[in-house]
Symmetry: D3
Subunit: 339 residues, 6 copies
């Protein structure tokens, strides 16, 4: 099974441990981005995954390529050129102190890319699935147009499409996001969102819920999923449910809405090593479940267990195997030493 | 607003992570000390703060100076000379294993300083506030005398004075501390203490409370604050309330006693990154609140939120902004990622 | 008092922090192994302890020797020769993600050692106690035979013998372990085990208990200890009780069964820094207690407090003093800073 | 004496040691830029130096500010705002492998700054000297115009001006550089260049010399200096002479041309720790010499010795004292331990 | 163009910097081996290269795979299984102190592999070139037999074969090496050796030369190459010429003998960052030259320049591009900064 | 053979690599001191060596003990008590920039020790040799008196005595040194010095030699050795000859004067990793040579080769074996990889 994902991969510069930016004499340099993270995760599950983007020809661009190749991602379709690799600075929070992200991504090669950089016919040869997030079209009208090219070619070839709404208010307004995403979502089969994104992008909200409080209310999630599904005709709609107790401790669960029925996962209390990429690892788990033909309950349990494990791993990428996910999904959360 | 603080800044040598001293092949080298920590914190809040001490002319002395300049502290009033920078070795505890501090501060330049090293008239030019802790006079009779010089000059100039009692039993006896501090406290406007220090230094104790147990009893705190206030006529008396659940987890709150009324802050359950400097960050928060004319309840909430955040930060210094403190003081303790 | 321990010491290669193996560009290189860990712990308690093994003559073998000498272990009885130092790779787990151990110990010098490498008469000169674990005879029939040599010489000299059952399924089958250990246990005075090992090695199990669930049931532990004692006539039988809540959080307690009576320790909720060597530190605590003539309740409290502290320390070795253990055993688990 | 410098300070991201970019899992994060480097150097010599630029308000901008404050640079005149801190990636070469610099500086706050960001009247209060390099006007026409504003105000106030030609072909063409720099050089009193820059910017070249070969020919240097001086009427013209034997070994010397006479320094064979900022440290040495009223020969020896020492120091900044420079300038190049 | 290489890839454990083994608290963990190093180098030149070996299924085996994938090596033909990844410990020498290698490779998956693990018909699909070294058959008779299988299939398919004699006296005797290598060399088109290997493996020696002295005598090299060529009919025979001045400084050159003519390269004086893999990088340069149809003089200059650059790079792999090699081969050894 | 050495062991705090003190965020923490370094070196040669000093009872004192035990030094005779471990800060120089040492050793436990801390009768049981340096009596009159106690007991027991003059101008004046050392040297059999120390301590100087220039003049060395020998009746007098070309490159040789004859060693050009402890490693080599009964020429070659190798090793200790020293002493300085 072959999955293609499309988006931006950034250089992530992070102080060591819990150091603040102003204390940092060196930065851990890793690479990540929503769709790249999904591709790595799928390769770790044994699928064939290609990541499509544009990266500069210089060594920092090559570092980004190598970070993907290391985990088996097919990087042969990446366009090379342009000026820079986008950057995000990440400061890890602790206890009551929140994590901080500073974006420095304007002018990246992919944000400046054009339609001519990507031959979607060739890219989708042998592809079974296409994944993107709401971050990609937010990079600019040019990139949104490239997304639309991709979606049309995907439809032509019967490639399934998943999309994580992932609203980024630094990149575009809610109005603009709503307009562009509405167009793109017409081509989407599987939608991933949380309550906040559904509201920010499409104004969809369940009654009587304050999304910033992280309260878990089953009915409201179903309501949101139903509204999304009704509007765009998604085959599957998944809603992730995060409760942030502190920068170190989060609760995590999700719901899958399919054929008018809602399937809730177990909830995990996670002691967090690295929270970034948590949503992406959920998406990858869901895609893997779908391509494996899992029943809805098994699918949502797999996706949530996968992303629960991600929170214990440094960096954007979810470096776990199918066996590890299944072990947790089947109930062993004891963390006992595996010898 | 300009604040002057006076005391010792030491080289802090700490193993990495949770390593014990005997495992350590290198030491993290940072600098800190009660009054220096306060000065840094105030600069981070946008105030003008100067730190006064004596440091050797050599490079290690310069390192201490630079550690302060980096955060904007005015170091132009620091006397240079003498033999050495005091040192403290810090081993971070975990779970049931306590943190350990080994002091190697005897013979430091400030401990050997004389009255001639400091021209308090010049030092207090444009100053609005003066802060010191009980550690400074404990360095020796010479330093206690310098403190007294400073306090008299402060009074002459109408500079407000705050003092954190901070009893150190390695430096002097309780009897000696009580005698010296009593003299100095005559000049103090704002007093910061915890129950244990109030007892160790002045023998002040509420009835029926075992201070080593960390039990929180509101009446007893009020009782202690009242006794301190009655004895010295402090304008404000602040009591910090720490409950140590383990080396990793502490509860933290405080009370401000002002005009015969007690104001209790929220209590925070903190997952600790670095506990050292927690009290100093509280003092800085209180000074900032006072200089900003905050109402008592807002003042104590600001000071406690500030020091709560300090526990999430490596090193002695509290590297947070007014905005970050206010966000927590106003109730957002979720630690959600700030993008 | 002089204690001799016999077994394998391995090079432990571990990624930094919570990194996974596949993320690791360097490995922390420490050394450890059940019986070596016990020897180090006893030296830290002020006893004279010698560790017996075989190590190659090259520098990596010397590194293992030096790691023991550093803490005062007598390494003068270690045979030198053979090809390699056994290795174990250790990946530290977090939250729901379990720690992982990959063994690469086949062909190590001790696994290939012969009877001629050890002169037990000379080794036991002045010895008061001999300790080994079930890992040592599992290294091969040759090593099991050397164990038997040692035990016979120990008996001849009235040296007390302790054994931690420590079943390793990668090294031998349960059937083989049961057979060999039964022979060796005839010489053992003090037996250390947990419920799982008692079952794996000797098929001993209390009724109605699922050992993989980590449920704590006092009666069942007594039942297991009694069965072990009845079969082999141990003077003391200690059972450790671990409940794994997650890779970060474990509960830890133990029971000592002596003269037909069971003594249960306090239970500790531990936030884990490094779990490896936890059992060994318990064994060392028990041996120290025995050699110090502690009463059973004091003995088990000491051993459990010792091993509780071990979980807060990086590496295999338990680097704590008698004073530190006693402080915890006597109830101060607050982790307050020791100045 | 007060010196003001104006330009860009960048985040410098460098692999550790001699690692190539593609090997790097973390980057050393320091800050530097031609004029900032000069300001730091002058502060280390005990002068009062201010650095003027524009930096974003976020934490990475603050890191750049702090890197300067640490060494005593006055950062109070820095404009805050804009989007990003410019970056340069630096890979250190070794032996026959050259060092590599990848610039990612487009769109930095200073490159996007406007005339309104700088009040040169206020900036030059109490200033004795102004320094900039050819990099600053190369950032854009807007920045070149700001430079011109500064120079006119400097002339009005009789502030001396030094300029290092420093041609950067990634930023502008030779033609453009020649045109803009010609206008700015009308205001310059002290010019610093090497043969290559003189040729690239102004087409000035001595006959029969191949500047890429690094051959040292005294007459040709004099010729170049004379032509520069004749064209712009510089009071002093300094030419640096680098011979690159390998990435590890360079020869380094310089010449000062003043009042029609040429003064050549000693030549140093340097084993290089970090070559970046070598030219800037020369400029700072020359400014210090000028402000100290050194005779020409002493001036050029000081400047070259200062920059020779810079090559032994990691990072952009030259962290040496006047005493250290003088010791070398006076002939002690033995590197014997100073106790 | 597609190249297949076959051999062992080991985990390389090296202390940081110039630390000795006994000082090391952590080991840099990289991966390398003669033929793997060649494959990486060729990928860096833009060729398609596959590395064939056997590696265990566990995570350490996966780390070795990932280290190759990162640089684009095709790892899809690697057999998975067996027990362990071979290890070599590397201590970097300095000045008069030699580097030290301790091998711990017995029992590795490839050393225990069988003919059934490799389907050479499939492996050589689309292959143009096959490379191995004398280390591979030295791993055991089984592996020598697999080599022979590969060579026969290569001949059948007209795949060119290169071999680096690379004698390892820890793995086999000179007599055994001579016998086995003689059989394999019948299939070899391009032979790489140095004087010492030619003598150790085949007893071939020029008159009057002491190979341990590293003296460079042109006639003797030609003599050795001629004798090798006459015996086995190689199309090309390359001899590398290393002179070890100290652990830090080596001279490096080579000769190519082709059609009865000898072509000597320039000689480089190298300041060494990492000497391991120097020979392999030469082999890769020679293969690239051959596949690019370079003339003999250009070919030998490319190969030597490539390997000269390798000595400036940490780790086994030669991480340089064709452009970088050509720049040096064409004469720019100045190491000047590339901006 | 058993050697006892007596003196101070300090904590050495050094920035990483070539960082200056003011750049350093952490310090490498090792331990060393003249006589401790000799003891370690002798243990590495297989001798039995004990180091005698006084160290505080706390963990930092224990770290110093452990640093010695690790290499097999007998630390059982070390007195425990007092306040602090002496410290020296070490900044490594490069090229023309000199290394810097800042001492912070006043008030250390050994400097404050008394005669009652050492029972020399017990200490010298089974001892064959006693070694000290001029640093030890320079710590104070009390320590000089302890030295005299030791020397008298050594004479009583026929223990051979060696002394390295090692003048430290920070600790005492030349006049005081000359007076005290003259008394102690009456008991010395083997004297180690360089020209500068001979002059500083005893005013002994060869005619027409400038010791700061490092010029090597054979006759002058012989003259100095003869004068030392004539004055004190040493059995052997060794003079080390260092020429400092730069902080990175030194020449190193020595001369042994025995029975009226002078034996000069080879001279080594060393590329320096760490220069500290170079003299101590020479002393240890000489003691080993003497205890091994080497002929004078062999003895001096061994001692110089040993100390040459020390310069390639980080830290104070010389971590080389007899085999490694002999290999170099016999002429193999090529630094070729040892596999």
């Amino acid at each position: 099974m072959r999955v293609v994902t499309f988006g931006e991969i950034m250089l992530r510069l992070a102080p060591h441990g819990y150091d603040r930016f102003v204390q940092s004499e060196s930065f851990l340099a890793t690479y990540g981005g929503g769709e790249a993270n999904v591709a790595v995760s799928l390769c770790n599950y044994g699928l064939d995954a290609a990541f499509v983007t544009k990266l500069p020809g210089h060594e920092i661009g090559q570092c980004a390529v190598n970070s993907l190749r290391k985990y088996g991602v097919d990087t042969g379709l990446i366009a090379r050129g342009g000026e820079r690799v986008g950057i995000y600075y990440l400061e890890k929070g602790a206890s009551q102190r929140a994590s901080k992200v500073i974006y420095d991504r304007a002018g990246s090669s992919i944000a400046a890319a054009g339609a001519e950089d990507f031959d979607w016919g060739k890219i989708f040869e042998n592809a079974d699935w296409f994944h993107f997030t709401g971050i990609t079209p937010a990079l600019g009208d040019n990139v949104a147009a490239i997304c639309m090219d991709a979606l049309k070619e995907a439809k032509r070839r019967n490639v399934k499409v998943s999309c994580d709404l992932n609203y980024r208010n630094k990149l575009w307004s809610k109005a603009k996001a709503g307009e562009v995403m509405a167009g793109l979502c017409e081509y989407v089969n599987v939608c991933i969102s949380n309550e906040e994104d559904a509201h920010d992008v499409f104004g969809i909200q369940a009654d009587g819920v304050d999304v910033t409080k992280g309260e878990v209310n089953h009915d409201s999630y179903i309501d949101v999923a139903k509204k999304l599904t009704d509007r765009f005709g998604f085959e599957k709609t998944a809603i992730t449910l995060r409760t942030s107790l502190s920068a170190n401790d989060n609760n995590w669960a999700a719901m899958l809405y399919e054929n008018g029925k809602a399937y809730f996962s177990k909830s995990y209390n996670m002691h967090i090593v690295d929270r970034v990429g948590g949503g992406d690892s959920f998406g990858a788990g869901l895609i893997y479940s779908a391509l494996s033909g899992y029943e809805p309950q098994k699918a949502i349990e797999f996706a949530v267990a996968a992303s629960c494990l991600k929170h214990s791993i440094e960096g954007d990428f979810n470096l776990v195997s199918v066996d590890e996910v299944n072990k947790l999904a089947q109930g062993d959360a004891s963390g006992r030493v595996q010898r």
